[in-house]
């Protein structure tokens, strides 16, 4: 006990710490006798911290590994390497039995409000699941708690006996939120909780989440690919590309001085409400597609698409450190970070097309 307290104090207010997390998925070979296996490098050497009461935004393209990272943290996937510390306790390799009590403290809200609720079960029993799994409440007591939760997320508690199909997308997402809230968890991982909803409903769910955070002191890891949503809810943002974090910073710093060309390109794609302003702005169009995560590029993983790429980018992997005199909490992994006011759509890569390593061992154009 005393040891735990010490680590807690040493960590300060850090609730979740991820260190050098690696997650590889074996690729099905399709051969009868499996030879050497290929792996999808979904998450590669990711480290991050989430402090109590804050919201960490996690952004990136589809397939960049953000959902995998979230599922590793929630211990839905076994981890290939690295360490996950939650509330001072190493949870990386806890057995399912020892993980059970911690399930109450780490919860998830899922992307698809249609897929995340069992269509054959009544809403009351879906939201009551946490109570029956952990055997904390039964019968009338469970019903009362469930109805209280429904009220908390703005659902009519009388709809206890309905099926998910009888609710709209926004209401279904509220059901998902209620289920996650059952034990007042310390950490909630929101895996694109609003990307499947209409814009008007998105705002309602986002407001609900921030009200709950204020009232219940929740901590969120908020995954999204919509940057304006992330900006609205997050305190800090981490940008992922191909399994790695390329830039991490408090929200305002990120928007004011994006350092990584990828972040810059993402931000330039955010729609602006003012059409005049939008017309003046230069949109950065990235060339090519995201390379295969089975054989990721050498050096900086972004170099095959980067307008600023130079030979160093192919040979050396950049470290995640503060660049260009930024505060210590604004880190970027780029050898040639974007300077304030620089327009990277004007720069040309100084390495020839055929020198870009799009897959390790495979030269583009060869």
């Amino acid at each position: 006990m005393s040891m735990e307290t010490t680590t807690n104090r040493a960590d300060g207010d850090v609730l979740l710490r991820v260190e050098n997390l690696v997650k590889h998925f074996p690729v099905k070979s399709g051969k009868l006798v499996p030879g050497e296996r290929d792996y999808v490098h979904a998450v590669e050497d990711v480290s991050l911290e989430v402090r109590r009461g804050e919201t960490l935004g996690l952004v990136g393209e589809t397939g960049c590994g953000k959902s995998t990272l979230a599922r590793c943290v929630a211990r839905l996937y076994p981890v290939t390497g690295g360490k996950i510390t939650f509330d001072g306790q190493d949870i990386t390799n806890l057995s399912p039995r020892r993980m059970r009590p911690l399930r109450r403290e780490i919860q998830m809200i899922f992307q698809d409000p249609y897929g995340s609720l069992n269509p054959r079960r009544r809403v009351g029993s879906i939201i009551g699941d946490p109570f029956s799994i952990h055997r904390t409440a039964r019968g009338e007591d469970r019903k009362k708690q469930v109805q209280h939760l429904m009220e908390l997320v703005g659902l009519n508690p009388e709809h206890y006996n309905r099926f998910p199909a009888e609710f709209s997308g926004g209401q279904r997402q509220r059901i998902g939120v209620a289920r996650a809230l059952a034990f007042r968890p310390k950490l909630i991982i929101c895996d694109e909780p609003v990307s499947a909803l209409d814009v008007s409903i998105q705002a309602q769910i986002l407001n609900l989440l921030s009200d709950l955070q204020r009232d219940l002191g929740l901590t969120y890891v908020f995954i999204a690919h919509d940057l304006s949503v992330v900006r609205h809810v997050s305190n800090r943002v981490a940008v992922m590309y191909l399994g790695k974090i390329v830039e991490e910073s408090p929200v305002d710093g990120m928007w004011a001085h994006p350092r990584h060309p990828y972040t810059d390109a993402l931000l330039s794609a955010v729609p602006l409400p003012d059409p005049d302003h939008a017309q003046q702005r230069e949109r950065i169009i990235l060339a090519g597609d995201v390379p295969s995560p089975i054989h990721p590029p050498t050096g900086c993983r972004f170099h095959p698409r980067c307008p600023k790429a130079r030979p160093t980018c192919v040979s050396t992997e950049p470290e995640l450190t503060p660049r260009l005199g930024d505060e210590s909490d604004h880190v970027a992994a780029c050898h040639f970070p974007v300077e304030d006011g620089e327009d990277i759509s004007l720069s040309k890569p100084s390495i020839a097309e055929d020198q870009r390593v799009i897959e390790s061992g495979l030269i583009a154009g060869a």
């Binding site: 993980m99 109450r104 069992n118 799994i133 006996n161 309905r162």
Partner: protein
């Protein structure tokens, strides 16, 4: 805890805590379960409802078989050597004493058919239940656990589906009669049910496995795991309810097949043994003397078998349409 709901900014769903509204809404609150909806669709299917009536009639006949015996005054096993057989020893045709005629031993065919319905329905229901239960559990395990368990079980199912059922059943029957260890089972109902169940579950197992493979990738399974649910809870509380519709449909269609299977085994002499009344046996016996004239002995048991299986099949089709209006079930 007090919490201001209005602060949430809800516009989709006005929550009015007024008692009047609550009382009014009470009726609409209970969601219509998929079962209720399916039953409503089934009620509108006229063919299925007629067949359901036929099935209920057959079940009533089976249960009330002693009533037939009482009305006619002819026992199930009672042989009428003088009035039940012609002087040359052939069965007598339908008349006022024997409404459907008699069989080769001078027994009342009507009473025998009613008693035969008991065997057919009993085997049909019990063997189907065994088949579906076994197939469900094994299919769930194979689909959910995957890996080596899945490989072994799936290959075993493939093997079972490749075995020639009748040849195997006949030889198994011989073993059951004479084998020093398995001999205790003996010929009769249990071996029929065991054989039908053993050869039937693989099909159910395959259907279940396939469904589980797709269901287990759903986010609500991940949500259950995130809540700390163990594999058994996930299999039986989260996955199984999603399988019930296809299972019920498959079961109703499997019952007639099982009834025919039982009749086939008894026809071949490896099923239910005489003197127990059984449709398959009657058809077998009748076919040996059909050429000499007693058509009723062949026609009435065959008609009983035909009507029963037809009713179950059409009803099963109705059940499938009711559960699956879009037609995306595997069966």
């Amino acid at each position: 805890m007090t919490y201001d709901i209005q602060a949430v900014g809800e516009s989709e769903l006005p929550v009015e805590p007024s008692a009047v509204r609550a009382a009014e809404a009470q009726k609409a609150i209970e969601g219509k379960s998929p079962w209720v909806l399916a039953w409503r669709r089934l009620r509108r299917d006229r063919a299925a409802m007629i067949c359901l009536g036929v099935i209920i009639f057959i079940v009533a006949c089976a249960i009330g078989a002693p009533v037939f015996a009482a009305i006619t005054g002819h026992g199930n096993m009672e042989q009428f050597d003088t009035i039940g057989r012609t002087p040359t020893g052939l069965p007598v045709g339908p008349n006022s004493t024997f409404w459907l005629g008699t069989d080769s031993l001078g027994r009342d065919l009507l009473v025998r058919i009613a008693y035969g319905a008991r065997i057919s329905l009993f085997v049909g229901v019990v063997a189907t239940a065994v088949t579906v239960a076994g197939g469900t559990v094994i299919g769930l395990a194979a689909g959910y656990f995957g890996g080596v368990i899945d490989s072994v079980l799936a290959r075993f199912m493939d093997w079972l589906l490749a075995v020639p059922f009748l040849l195997f059943a006949i030889s198994l029957f011989s073993v059951a009669v004479v084998h020093p260890i398995f001999g205790f089972i003996g010929p009769g109902l249990p071996i029929v049910i065991i054989v039908l169940g053993f050869f039937g579950w693989a099909t159910v197992g395959r259907i279940v496995r396939g469904q589980v493979l797709s269901i287990k990738e759903k986010e609500y399974i991940e949500a259950a795991r995130a809540l700390g649910a163990g594999p058994w809870r996930i299999m039986f509380i989260d996955i199984l309810p999603n399988l019930l519709a296809p299972l019920i449909v498959y079961s109703t269609l499997l019952i007639p097949a099982t009834i025919v299977g039982e009749a086939t085994l008894s026809f071949l002499g490896v099923g239910v043994q005489p003197p127990t009344a059984d449709w398959g046996q009657m058809i077998s016996d009748a076919s040996t003397m059909f050429l000499y004239g007693p058509w009723w002995y062949l026609v009435f048991p065959s008609a009983a078998l035909l009507i029963t299986t037809l009713a179950f099949n059409i009803f099963g089709d109705g059940v499938r349409d009711a559960f699956d209006p879009r037609g995306d079930l595997y069966v």
